[in-house]
Symmetry: C2
Subunit: 506 residues, 2 copies
């Protein structure tokens, strides 16, 4: 019943192109953040000609952008949820220039918004008002690749896909992988503690990133670079900056530990009758595929249809309520295939797996992955999408999709769920024609209250950014938020680094 | 040439018993820390009868220990390097009682020393002067084990080996393993970011520990418990406490993610002609054993001899300059054995592996592990041992042992090296008859200067504790140490939590 995939995709667009295309939309259609979300500007200075001259002298005229057309793409986020009104985009080349910029901004009380690939989904990577955008794109050098230890050191502006390719050239596998890899930058990944598809195998960036260099609000450069998995010399400061979303420092360099590349990669795309069968299949995947399991993704019927129909994909199977994409990465293909067969046969015999396809051919693997990777893009293709990225106890993992679907039945929306079930991480989406306050208010704060009741996390991997600050208390105690504030005040007393983000307004 | 092991150990003592025996030695032979290291007491209050009464009322008379004989074991560290002079040992039962104790100590300006299993190797777990010892041993409840997600939540006083057994009962493998597991506690492990034998496979505790609860110096309880691998809600605060060595908070609860247990475990103990061969073998282990590699240990000739001779072991092979213990854990024994065979044959054919033994039998595996696990105990059995736990670039990993041996040639000492080569972590040891200032000064600060020159870490997994504070600057910049100080001041303004530890005296 399981065979190598034979489908042909009539049209395969790379996620990369789609991501880029979205930046070119009609910007004026996006409301300014300050209007849509009704928030008040902090009392920062406003840039003047003297400031511009200073920056031009420091980093060179061609890296100081003031033309608003050229800045517009940097003012709007990927989801078109947020639109800032920055008048100045700086493109420094290294940590020294960033240090000079921040020292100056600190003394002048000018707010800044650090920006990587601007692929964030919570409005964290674009300014809210007129913050100066500091692009990291020129910090894109790969400094070293150590084939013995597997450590890559590089600038924070390196594009994830480039790092993946460089790793591959040295027999290594970059431990982070996500849909936006052709555009996102490793510094942004680190700042947001990006999760993605392979956390189940390689863990989070808190483990993979061995060292970072970051520039503080004061302009001081904090060198926490390390080439060691084990380094117990004092407080583990790097973790403060991994996931701080640019509010405590601007990451300029990282050292990333990469595992050896797997010579054998296999993927199964399977259909399941119920969420209960999904859960059983996940537990069995851990048991039978154990150490070779490298991705375990869930796609529900609506997510599947949106992806397939929007991009005219020709999927190997269709017509089922649930699908899973299960990937293994190992060092011996014969062994891996054998393990996969035992796992799949067991699932078929027990009625948990209804149908599916299994392949080890790279071209076909990438076709299968597209079904999953194009889901998020398909949901925003012809309108707007309210996106929720939550961690939930596995037993209650899918119930929220059904509850939300019932709740939204009077609206013209698609409610669907997909995501990294192997990490208890659900992407709950409500896709609609356009942003609507009615829909917005029907979903929020309900979705966060519901998540909180199940002791889930209101942001699994996307972060808090601008859009979720007021929901932080649903997942964090007052004591914890208080400590966050104290840390923020200690490191950035004037609150010039990515303001209005992460911490709730007081 | 490779066969299942056939040796018999005439006498196998468990590490546990050895650890415990050491606590019962002649305590008066150990100099007080304040005399040996000539340091000055901070200006804390001194406990009085009123304080004792307060504590007796709060936690019960039988948990307030004032008899100095009963406290003596808690005043001296495992290595007999440090001896405090505490007059009061408290044994609270939960985070509420610890909160009450700290609130009181904070108001009275009384310093405290949190203590787990007291198996630390840098003098971090015993008082320096008369700090009140807060034992965590009664927080030893396992709250829950989730077989689907693999998450165990428990009190910080749980003994590591008990957690390992509980995990096993639920089809899980506890991700941390180290020599002191029969005595050490998970809270102490978390506070010191203990590394151990399986970091190469399961990563560090920063990844495995999903949530913690900690009591701050103010007595406030900070609840950072989480059951999710992905939880990007604000700053990742837990990492501040993992590895803070009890100086920022007292950990009272943890949630630990455990992988599925491996049905197949195999171990090879091999002999190698040179360090170059060791390095090549490590790289090949990553390549051929890839995802099943779960330990990769190095033992040099002197370490091997000390262990074997001290405990009358009957090792399967002997007479070589280097040994490696390589362990795999997988889900299919046939596959694992096949991979191991390919790896070992390759090494033998290329002359990197000279001889060895290979086994999958649990009893024999544990006999082999004893050769490695008894090395540290054998080095302190009849005297004193200066222990250094450093991370070094692999290319220069072993050179420091040779350099140190040459440097110490006029002393009656054994200089040896062993450790977790898979994590670039070397245990450099200088074993001698007893502590001597001459030997001490010949080794330090040289060993740290040398490590620093190679950009290594002066403490890979043991931490800074009391013994290494002045060497912290060899691995951390002024800017980093400054930030650590600011964090310490923010969280513990009166410096009552485990003073004289981690941060260098100003």
């Amino acid at each position: 019943m399981f065979s190598s995939i034979r489908v042909k995709y009539s049209l395969i667009l790379s996620s990369a192109k789609l991501v880029k295309r979205n930046y070119k939309g009609n910007h004026n259609a996006v409301e300014l953040t300050k209007d849509r979300y009704k928030i008040k500007r902090n009392n920062y200075s406003v840039i003047n000609d003297k400031d511009i001259s200073f920056f031009e002298n420091q980093i060179g005229k061609s890296y100081v952008v003031t033309n608003s057309d050229d800045i517009e793409g940097n003012n709007i986020d990927f989801l078109r949820s947020c639109r800032g009104n920055s008048q100045l985009l700086l493109k420094p080349k290294n940590e020294i220039e960033i240090s000079q910029i921040l020292k100056y901004c600190y003394s002048r009380n000018l707010a800044v918004c650090p920006q990587g690939g601007n692929t964030g989904l919570v409005g964290g990577s674009v300014p809210v008002f007129d913050e100066i955008i500091i692009s990291l794109q020129r910090l894109n050098e790969i400094y070293s690749v150590d084939e013995i230890t597997g450590i890559i050191t590089c600038g924070s502006g390196c594009i994830l896909e480039n790092l993946e390719n460089e790793a591959k050239n040295h027999g290594l596998r970059f431990p982070l992988d996500l849909g936006a890899k052709s555009t996102c930058q490793i510094g942004g990944n680190a700042s947001t503690n990006a999760g993605g598809l392979r956390v189940i195998r390689y863990g989070s960036l808190h483990g993979s990133i061995l060292g970072i260099e970051t520039v503080l609000a004061s302009g001081n450069i904090l060198d926490l670079m390390s080439n060691f998995k084990k380094d117990n010399t004092g407080y583990h400061l790097k973790h403060l900056f991994i996931g701080c979303e640019g509010t405590l420092g601007i990451i300029t360099k990282v050292a990333v530990l990469c595992p050896a590349i797997s010579s054998s990669i296999n993927v199964a795309f399977i259909a399941l009758p119920s969420f209960e069968a999904v859960l059983k299949t996940f537990v069995k995947a851990k048991k039978y595929l154990g150490e070779i399991l490298s991705a375990c993704e869930l796609i529900d019927e609506i997510s599947f249809k949106r992806s397939v129909e929007t991009f005219n994909l020709n999927p190997p199977i269709s017509g089922y309520p649930f699908y899973m994409l299960i990937e293994t990465s190992g060092s011996n293909n014969k062994h891996d295939e054998e393990k996969f067969n035992i796992f799949l046969n067991n699932g078929m015999e027990n009625g948990e797996i209804l149908d599916g396809t299994f392949t080890g051919e790279p071209g076909k693997i990438s076709e299968i992955w597209k079904i999953r990777e194009l889901v998020p893009v398909s949901l925003i293709e012809d309108g707007y999408c309210f996106k929720y990225d939550i961690s939930l106890p596995l037993r209650d993992f899918y119930k929220i999709v059904l509850v939300m679907r019932e709740r939204m039945k009077n609206f013209d929306v698609d409610v669907c769920g997909y995501g990294h079930i192997g990490d208890s991480n659900l992407h709950l989406n409500v896709a609609c024609k356009g942003f609507s306050q009615d829909i917005y208010r029907k979903i929020e704060p309900f979705v966060f209250e519901y998540t909180s009741k199940l002791k889930g996390s209101v942001s699994a991997e996307h972060g808090i950014g601008f859009l979720k600050t007021k929901y932080l208390p649903f997942s964090k105690s007052d004591e914890a938020i208080n400590l966050m504030r104290n840390i923020k005040t200690m490191l950035d007393p004037k609150n010039i680094l990515n303001p209005y983000k992460v911490l709730p307004q007081e």
